[in-house]
Structures are given as C-alpha cells and as structure tokens.
Symmetry: C2
C-alpha cells in the first residue's frame, strides 16, 4: 500500500463521507449543534455565506418585480387545517405553542401557564398565513399579480438532524405570488426555477438539473412542484431549490378571490418558491476536499487572506506596512456586484499553521508576505484549487491587477470539476438488475460512495417509486425539463414509458 498523503481533515471523503462533512464544518468554523435538539448555531464564517446568498438572490427577486414583506411566525392550527394535504404533510413535524407564560407552581417550579384557546404552529412554511393576507389585499384583477417574498426562519421538527441539511429550525426565503390566470402563475413558477438555477450555477459554481417532481415528491397541497437537483461528491442528489405551482388550491382554502375584467368573481392562481440555508450544506458537500472547506469565489466571505510571515520584529522589515498597502489595493478592485474582500491575519503563530487554518476555511487565495517579498515588491500566492505546494511568486502589481480574473478562473475550475463528477456518475440504465447493482454498495459492512444519477425510463407508476424507495432508498429526483421524448420501457416494471427520469439517493 502506497503511503497516504496527509490531509487536514480526518476522515477523508472516501473513508467516511458523513463524518468528513461534520469535520469540514468544524475545521472551517461554519456552524455547530446547539443545546436545543435539532437546532444549529450558524457561526460568523458560515453566516456570512448566507448573507452573500441573501444579497445576490434578493437583488434578483427585486429585479423580477418582487417586494419583501413579513408575516407572523405563528399560524393558528385552524389555518393549517384549511388545506387538507398541506396539514397532513406538516402535522408530523411541527412545533406547537400551547401556553403564553410560565408560572410558579408545585413548590416554586416554573411550568407552562395561560393555555391558548387555539394552539399555534410555528410556521413550517407560510402559504396559509400569507394566504389570509392575500385574501384581504386582492379584490380586483388590477391588484394582480401580487409578487411577495419573505426572508424568515421556519421550523420543521427533525428527528435525525444534520447541520445545514436537515435542521429543526432553518433560515430561508419563501416567495408567494398570486395571479389572475393559470398561464401567468405557471410562467412565474418556471421563472423562479430559472432564477434559482442561474444563481446556483453562476454563484455556487454548481451545475443543476431542472425538472418536475413526481406526485409522491410534491409539496403538500401543490398541483406541481419543480426543483433543481445537484450532485454531491458522494453521488447523492441535493434538492437545492423548489418552485411550486399551487393552482387554485390555496386560493380556495384562504379565499383569495378577485373580480375579473368582466366583473366575475374568480379564485386567484398562486405559486410559492424557496431556498434555504441547506444551500450552504450543498456548497460544502459539492466543493470541499480532504483539506477542508472550499468556498466558491463569488459567494466567498473573503477572497484573499494576507498572511504576514512573522520572524520577530515586523516593523524593521516593513512587512506590516506592505501588507496594509496590499490590502488597500486589493480592496479597491471591483469583483462581481461588489469589491474584493481581504482579511489580514496578523496572529502570532507559525506560518504553516496560519496557512492551514485558511486552507481549511476555504479561502480562494492566500498570499504570504515576508521580508523577501517586500524587498522584491512581490507576493507569494497560494491557490485553493491547486496543490498547496504550487505557490507562485509574482509581482505585486500583476497580482492586484489580475485578481478578479483569477477568482473567475477558480470559479470555473470548481464548476467544471462538479460538472465532470456529475457526468462521470450519470448513467443510462436499462435493466432492473443493473439498476439494483448501481445503487448497492459492494461492501455492505462499510458504507462507501456508490451510485449516482440513473437516467431511466419510468412507467409513471407510483408502485415503482415505492419499491425502489423501500429496497434501495432511491427516489425519482425529477423528470428533467429538457428530457427528449423517447419510447422505452420502465427500468423496473417493464411497462411502456415515453421519457427518462432521474433516480438517485438524496439528502
């Protein structure tokens, strides 16, 4: 056995992918579990990713005509019950507020007191409470379309939590719109799926497949659900954003009615769409490596870490002044909608330790500055996408002038790598045998990375979904939008099919 390369993260992806994921988060200081079961603490380095995601998406929502508003955290139980499928979908995982104070009883012990007449549900999603407002706001076709977004926290009780991917409380945005025609609502649903897809590809450096969910994977109460699906490094799919066409279901449940141009009363057509802090889990799982977190440059909390190399007294060699000047020059460079973000790490510690801490944090570029660099008016640059030995000494001015271009190069490397992973692990599968083999680990004792996206014919039967879910933990991720019509036979049941769908394990 060849000697293994030492890595900053133990275990490696191959050794134990789920544990590797936890260790990457820990080493990069992104988040941690909290004393409240299922809830996480998002630490500053992780939260700044969410701030960047918010900033970019918020601008795109506004550019497509949406306005932000804010609706109550609590939903009366009776509101949830207005849409039958909806309440069934969320009843099993909701936090219920039953009292409005604590009072000292039983020998001074504080117990819940002031029982509410009607329990309140902490919102798992806000269709029903926003619907109540929409019903008041919409009277005439002139009030439509109504295009609203909310940035909020939501709660879905989670028994097997996992940082960013499945947490009881998470942060998200939820768009809610009402339209006068079915066609317009369908267009909105498609438009927001496109906004999400473009964002994930252009900022997260992650290719996605756009498609429609099957009935069994639909949002509770929706007529149709669209999603974008990305492949993680363990070959599983991550649903990274969803856009729902709700038909008139929620408009009927909430009484969202308008008078059309001919004076007739009609129910509005509504949509909803959302992405959450789960996207951060996707960034981690898609790009990180055995040395830690890898931040896509366009969402990075910082682009460049400047590391003054300490050999006793800085002031003499002018290292600190040089670093300050460099930071100023870099910070003045434009990048995307903003400018280059720089951190200077002046901690007194070994240069190697300092470098490693930034590698683990996923910084796209770091520069080491010692007396030698100052004297040569140069920088020694490290690249997160290259082996760490491949540091390059280059003139300071050249580095500063080329910084935006360099970050875009790194963005492309990450995107291409993710695309290559997906292409290598997407396979057209034609037989049930091959299908089962594809999704079964070779060694049942030791979980390993296996499977991928299986592009297969499906008859449309829910029974087939049920079977592969029970046997293999595999589901249909989506019916891709761009799948060509093609005659074939269902990979499981052999019945006629006209289109391939994507089967995969998922988060």
């Amino acid at each position: 056995m060849a000697q293994a390369q030492r890595t900053a993260i133990t275990p490696t992806r191959t050794d134990d992918y789920p544990e590797w994921y936890q260790q990457v988060i820990k080493a990069a200081d992104l988040a941690e579990s909290s004393p409240v079961r299922g809830c996480m603490v998002i630490k500053p380095w992780g939260y700044s990713l969410w701030e960047n995601i918010q900033r970019v998406l918020d601008a795109r929502f506004k550019a497509t005509g949406h306005q932000n508003a804010y609706f109550p955290l609590f939903i009366p139980k009776s509101f949830m019950e207005k849409e039958a499928e909806h309440v069934e979908g969320f009843a099993k995982e909701c936090a219920v507020v039953t009292h409005h104070r604590l009072a000292a009883k039983e020998g001074g012990k504080l117990v819940p007191d002031g029982e509410l007449e009607e329990p309140l549900i902490v919102r798992p999603t806000s269709e029903t409470i926003i619907g109540a407002s929409f019903a008041k706001w919409v009277q005439s076709y002139r009030d439509l379309p109504l295009l609203i977004n909310q940035w909020a926290n939501v709660v879905r009780w989670e028994l097997r939590p996992r940082l960013f991917l499945r947490t009881t409380e998470f942060l998200w945005q939820e768009g809610h719109t009402a339209h006068s025609t079915e066609k317009e609502a369908l267009e909105e649903t498609a438009r927001m799926m496109e906004v999400y897809a473009a964002f994930v590809q252009d900022y997260m450096a992650l290719p996605v497949i756009k498609g429609e969910k099957t009935a069994s994977e639909r949002f509770p109460g929706a007529v149709s659900t669209f999603s974008i699906e990305a492949m993680m490094q363990d070959r599983k799919a991550l649903q990274s954003g969803t856009s729902h066409f709700l038909g008139q279901n929620f408009a009927r449940a909430s009484g969202i009615k308008f008078q059309d141009e001919s004076g007739k009363d009609q129910h509005a057509w509504t949509t909803s769409w959302g992405v959450s802090t789960r996207l951060i889990g996707g960034i981690i799982m898609a790009h990180s490596d055995d040395d830690g977190f890898v931040m896509p440059p366009r969402l990075a909390s910082a682009h460049v870490a400047i590391l003054p190399m300490s050999h006793g007294d800085h002031s003499e060699s002018g290292v600190r002044e040089y670093c300050d000047r460099l930071a100023g020059e870099l910070g003045a460079q434009k990048y995307m909608e903003g400018s280059i973000k720089v951190v200077t790490d002046a901690r007194e510690m070994r240069g190697g330790d300092k470098m490693w801490s930034w590698i683990k944090k996923g910084i796209p570029l770091w520069v080491e500055i010692g007396k030698r660099e100052v004297d040569a008016d140069a920088v020694c640059v490290g690249f997160r996408d290259k082996a760490r030995e491949k540091r390059t000494v280059m003139p300071r001015a050249q580095f500063v002038a080329g910084i935006a271009q360099e970050l875009d190069r790194i963005h492309s490397v990450y995107f291409d790598r993710a695309m290559a992973l997906r292409e290598t692990n997407t396979r057209k599968i034609e037989s049930k045998d091959e299908f089962y083999k594809f999704f079964t680990p070779a060694n049942a004792e030791k979980p390993e990375i296996h499977g991928g996206f299986a592009l297969c014919h499906w008859s449309g039967e829910p029974d087939v979904e049920e079977t592969v879910k029970n046997d293999l933990g595999v589901t249909i991720r989506c019916i891709p939008m761009d799948a060509p019509e093609e005659e074939g036979r269902c990979v499981i049941s052999g019945k006629p099919s006209r289109r391939r769908v994507i089967f995969a394990k998922s988060y």
Copy 2:
C-alpha cells in the same frame, strides 16, 4: 369657529392621537394586524423601511468590529432559569412550545401530540442561549473580545398590542459581546449607545437623549441599562434603543470563563444591545402629520415619485418618455451610501388622487409631469415638508442636479421640527403640584395631548417612581448622561438630590 382645513387623515393628531396613528399606518400601507393575536403583517412599504434601517446599522456594527451569527429560536426552559431576575422578567410574557407534532384524535380532530420532556421558550431575547455558545467559544483571553450581532425575530406575549410599538412578535437585532475587563465592557455599552444615537439623529432625523435607566427600569439581569429616548408628537417618550452592561451576571449563569494572561480563570464581562421594528413606530409618530406618513429622506423607501399626468394619449405628448428619462437621470444621482430611488406611478387615475396617495405614503418629493412640463423641459415639484399648494416649477436639469441637497434640506427641516417640539415641551419642574398639573389632562373626559419631558430632581428613592407611576402613569425615562451635577430637592419627596432626571409618559 374657523373652518377646519381638510386633512387626508381622520381623525387629526389633536382629535385622537392613538387613532390618528392607526390611520396613518393604514393610509400609507405600512402594516396591518394579523389573524394571530398581537402579531403584525409588515407590508412592503413598511418593510422597506426596516430593510433600510438594517442596511445602515449593519454596516455600522461591522465597522465597529462586530460579526453576524445566528442562534436558535427556541430556548430550553432551564436556560431561562439560570439567571433569576432574567426569567422573572420574561416568564409572564413568553410563548411556550410543549409539543412537536399534531395528531388526529377524538374523532379525527388534530390535537398537540409528542409532548416535549422540557418545554421550549420562543426567544424573548437571547442572552441565555447565546451565553451557552459563548461558554464554548471562549477559553482564553486571546478569544476576547467576542463581538457578535444577530438579526432575528423575538416573541414577548403582548395583551394590548399596537402596530410597530408593542407586538407579540417583532423583528430586531441583538448584539452580544464578551470582554476580559469590566472597563472594556462598559466602553462597549457606551459605544453602541452612541452608534444608536447617531443613527437615530442622522437617519431618522430625530433628536435623542442618551441616559441611564433607574434600577426599576433596567433590563432583567443587567447591572446597568442605557437607552436613547425621543419625544413623540403627543409629548410621550419612546425608548428607541437600549444598551446593557451585564457585568458578570450572565457569564456566571452560562459559565463564560477565560484564562487570563496570568493563567487564572475568570468570568467574562458581557453586554447586550438592541433596536427593533419599534423604530418604525417612532418614525411614524415623530414626523407624520394630519395628511399622513412623513418619511425621513435618508431612510425613505423612495425619494421621488414621478407622476405622469394623464390627459388621454401619452405617446403623442411624449410625457412617458420624458418621465423615463427623468427617472434614469435621478437614479444615477448618488445619495448617502446609495443612490436616489425613484418610483414612477403610471396608474390611470385622477392626478389629484395620485398626488394624495404619495403624500399619504410620505414620499419626500413628487414631480408632476404633463405636456406643459415636457414642452418647457421643466418639472413641477411638490415637497412633503411644505404646504401642498407650494409646488414649484423649475428646470429639469436644476432639479436633477440639486436633488441630494434638497433631500438633505428636508432631513434638516424634520430634525429641527422634532427638536423644536422637544424643546417647547421640556420643562424644569420644581414642585409636586406643578408636576401633577403638567401630567394631568385638562379635560378628563377627552384624552388630549399634554405633558412632555419634566426635568426634575429625584432623590433616588424607588418609592417616588412607584408613586408617580401609579398616580400619573409617569416614569423616569433616564438619568441623562450630560446632566450637570446640581444640588436640589426631589420634586416629589423633597429629599436631597444631586442631579435632574427625565420624567415622562412613555410607550
């Protein structure tokens, strides 16, 4: 009786101030009550004010070294109980989660199910849950100071809700910091009070008094609480921001300990500070008039409304093209950290109605554009701070070039007006009789605007506070920071006093 001037809002401030407040909010479309008792819906025009407040304050928090993070919505009951005064302060008004699902029982009816072992409190504030994280993050003096801020929703059960001012759920930011010395923590407490004061004065156009709270008005668990207090148009005080020095109380409760430079274990010194959506209530009450909402320009959702005046066909007269060009020119002008925000209102409606809708929304400037203005290359400008008849026709280029200056002029008018109101209604009072008269309405049948800020000597006795609170609903708003030492006698008890404090009614 002279004929009353017609106003857009009924009733006027003088007729019924509380009802006027509700009507201003309604006419400007800022917010509304929700079906969840005590919770509000913040509508887009109101929410955009919160977005502007967030943007400015967030930059100032970051400029003073703070980082954002996110902590759980839920707090285990036992955490709240760790600090005795703290839990006593919030126990009477907290939403309690007792179950984690709904289940069908009793003939299909959904009831709370899955009772939690320990009830969870929906955060009324996060000292205790953030303290649990700080205890993990802080080991050594090198980890300090720890400077964290959170933007979040909080819940304090409210039996007499009032939009923006007192709602069961509200949006806020809460800063939480830990320091190695008392001095440093006290400096932080003072620094953030200054940040708030500067923000409220420079952006909200509202003068504030900085001061310390008396023991009875302190944050539950704090050693000292500082606040900024502003006078509303009904002469009541609005506490607009608070900054708490928590001593080592919460560090002891949560176990936030560090090893100092000499290797000795010590408890950290902590602070917390916050402002909330209540600030929007302050903006409304401080500046609005009997024609509706008045937005201070530096926080305005939009600065200029362009109103194309419709006389049939626009295309012929070129009105629409002229408006579009004007919007583009204005939008390219810098203002504060951003640029001029313009809305063009092309709705088909009477010009007068259109103008009134923008007056009620509080827009600082509006311009009416008809064929006459197009032909003269001019604009007809209306100013929210002037009588609506005082519209001015001026050359387009002059208006565009002077827009930022004009908005700053309006900002100053609002600030000066608020300052004049406060000065007129602040009085040094030396006798108990005069004090009671100042705070008692002349006509007990009809509530009216009366009182103000009474600058009086106070002996330091809690009994005095208790008495005037019970008799008059008056409290000590603060002991002003800049109050000179001055020998005197308590206005109520006659006992010796060395400083004047501010007594007022408040929200």
